[in-house]
């Protein structure tokens, strides 16, 4: 059966619409779920340290173990989602081999490491195993869970960097090739994690709500600032490649009349998303509102007893960040599309 082909009706111009990456749904789920899970762990573990340092009052009911278990669940779901991206998931274990050169390989190591340490933290917290192993400066008691949690934080930091560098290291995807990519992944993951922590705090009434919501607001605001800065940066980007450099013909007027495939190819399916400008604009406005602005307003009006508002803030923010990651793909212009401007 003939499929409707979005490119076929396209008039031949040198710059067609949709000169961009096609979003990979499994990767969108992976990065957002893992980001929220990491943020959630950082929220509770940082609160634990602030209690140890005497800045925060101890929680009325400590459920750091349950929160870590939930964080583990988010990472596990992300890992499951990532398998749907693979053509051969049964060979996924091979992906740890090239950690010297490949950020993807490094992520494949950092993700299970972070999961293992978070799970270890949760188990130590939830079991009776947690005991004080040393006392720092005579007043700060360090327990087994604190040590394991510190390892988890290191793995989480490594995972944030690895996940973002998978995209940021591709130098000719100029919209991604920026330190802003790493910063955005870190800030958005932490923002959604702290928003979830606020919802959990309002649910459990543990007395740490003010810390979580304050951090959630700060991180969401920071994430918005840097994501907006990235949008501005990418708006002005011009690729050094052109059809002239792509085929080596130095004439200002070149138009493609055949791309060597009648029904499209992997190149047209994977790198040309085919969405119209209005959908892209809607996604951009949508993620700015859902991912940042609305959660900020909701968190502002929430108080310790507003479980629903905080939960809604997290759900909306997560949906917004899904849209953000979708837009992140749409935003990236792949130079290979210079060779795929017209099907005939």
């Amino acid at each position: 059966m003939a499929r409707a082909n979005p490119q076929r009706a396209q008039p031949s111009t040198t710059r067609p619409r949709g000169e961009a990456m096609k979003p990979a749904i499994s990767v969108i789920l992976l990065t957002t779920l893992v980001g929220a899970g990491q943020g959630l762990f950082l929220a509770f573990y940082s609160a634990e340290w602030f209690v140890l340092l005497g800045i925060l009052r101890p929680a009325l009911n400590d459920y750091g173990g349950q929160a870590a278990a939930l964080s583990f669940l988010f990472l596990a779901l992300g890992l499951v989602a990532s398998f749907f991206h693979l053509g051969h998931p049964e060979r996924a274990w091979r992906a740890a081999a090239m950690w010297r050169s490949s950020w993807l390989s490094r992520e494949v190591i950092a993700l299970p490491a972070a999961m293992l340490l978070i799970l270890g933290y949760a188990l130590v917290k939830l079991s009776a195993l947690d005991s004080i192993v040393l006392v720092l400066g005579e007043s700060i008691p360090i327990s087994i869970s604190t040590v394991v949690g510190f390892g988890a934080v290191l793995a989480i930091c490594a995972l944030f960097v690895c996940t973002a560098m998978i995209y940021a290291c591709l130098k000719f995807l100029r919209q991604w090739h920026s330190p802003l990519t790493v910063l955005n992944f870190l800030l958005m993951g932490c923002a959604s994690g702290f928003t979830l922590a606020s919802a959990l705090a309002s649910y459990s009434q543990d007395g740490r709500f003010a810390y979580f919501v304050g951090m959630a607001v700060f991180l969401t605001l920071a994430a918005l600032v840097f994501r907006f800065a990235t949008l501005l940066r990418n708006k002005g980007l011009r690729s050094p490649s052109s059809l002239q450099s792509a085929i080596g013909v130095h004439h200002p007027t070149i138009r493609q009349i055949a791309q060597g495939a009648m029904g499209g190819s992997f190149n047209t399916r994977a790198f040309i998303h085919g969405y119209g400008a209005s959908v892209v604009r809607l996604a951009r406005r949508g993620f700015l509102l859902l991912g940042f602005v609305i959660p900020l307003l909701l968190l502002q009006i929430s108080d310790e007893s507003s479980i629903l508002i905080c939960s809604l803030a997290f759900v909306l923010q997560y949906l917004g960040l899904l849209a953000e990651r979708w837009y992140f793909f749409i935003e990236a212009e792949h130079p290979q599309n210079l060779y795929y401007q017209m099907i005939s």
């Binding site: 693979l86 053509g87 993807l104 995807l173 085929i247 013909v249 029904g263």
Partner: protein, 243 residues
């Protein structure tokens, strides 16, 4: 060090797709298994190819030229697709510079295709592994073939000899000579990938014939009055230009 590559002459390519079909025929029948064809006889046929011929119209009607542009993996000297591969399935052979994919190690994550600015890699929708031009490595070293046939099949099939195969690191090879004589160039040099495959530009065809060319004004028999010599110290591009 050896770097095997193709040099493709855009001046003589007529866009007949013989290289495309012979490539598909050879490689789909090879050890690595078939290259998928989807809807081969329906309205939207698609499938995996190692090599495609694209066509571009240059200029404004009626002053146009059609450029047929065969595109396959360029076997970059600094291939961006290789370091990103998490499994090591993508690799560059040190002995001859060919970039290959180990289909038994590939997990089909498509990351290498994101990293290739030329769109040279295509996933096989049936085998779910990344595929690309192998430079017919299963012909190059096959001693059961006559020596003249130990070349990529696209080179052998080209009716206009627009494809030249050779070691571009050997200055005496046909490929190197073609590059230096006809002004061979690389695609998207701005990314620093140093593609091994080169392209020869379109050249102006037709020569100016002057009366002196037909009837020599200087007498070659007069030793003391030799005509001007061509400079021999530097290479010339003759009349090769690109627009």
């Amino acid at each position: 060090m050896t770097q095997l590559a193709l040099v493709i002459d855009l001046n003589t390519c007529v866009g007949c797709h013989a290289c495309v079909t012979s490539c598909k025929e050879w490689n789909t029948s090879g050890q690595a298994g078939p290259m998928v064809d989807q809807n081969p006889y329906a309205a939207e046929p698609t499938g995996t190819f190692f090599n495609r011929v694209q066509s571009f119209e240059v200029g404004t009607f009626p002053n146009t030229q059609t450029v047929h542009f065969p595109k396959s993996c360029l076997h970059c000297e600094d291939p961006p697709c290789v370091p990103v591969c998490p499994t090591g399935a993508s690799y560059k052979r040190p002995e001859d510079g060919i970039v290959l994919v180990d289909y038994d190690k590939c997990i089909g994550c498509e990351y290498c295709s994101w990293a290739c600015p030329y769109g040279a890699r295509e996933i096989d929708e049936q085998q779910k592994v990344m595929k690309k031009c192998t430079l017919c490595i299963d012909r190059l070293y096959d001693e059961s073939l006559p020596e003249a046939e130990r070349k990529p099949v696209c080179v052998l099939s080209c009716p206009t000899s627009a494809r030249i195969y050779g070691d571009i690191h050997d200055p005496e090879s046909d490929a190197s000579k073609a590059i230096s004589d006809a002004g061979g160039y690389q695609l998207m040099p701005e990314w620093g990938t140093a593609p091994a495959n080169h392209y020869l530009p379109r050249r102006k065809v037709g020569i100016a014939v002057h009366a002196e060319d037909l009837q020599r004004v200087d007498n070659p028999l007069r030793k003391e009055d030799r005509g001007p010599r061509k400079p021999t110290t530097r290479t010339t591009l003759d009349d090769s230009t690109s627009w």
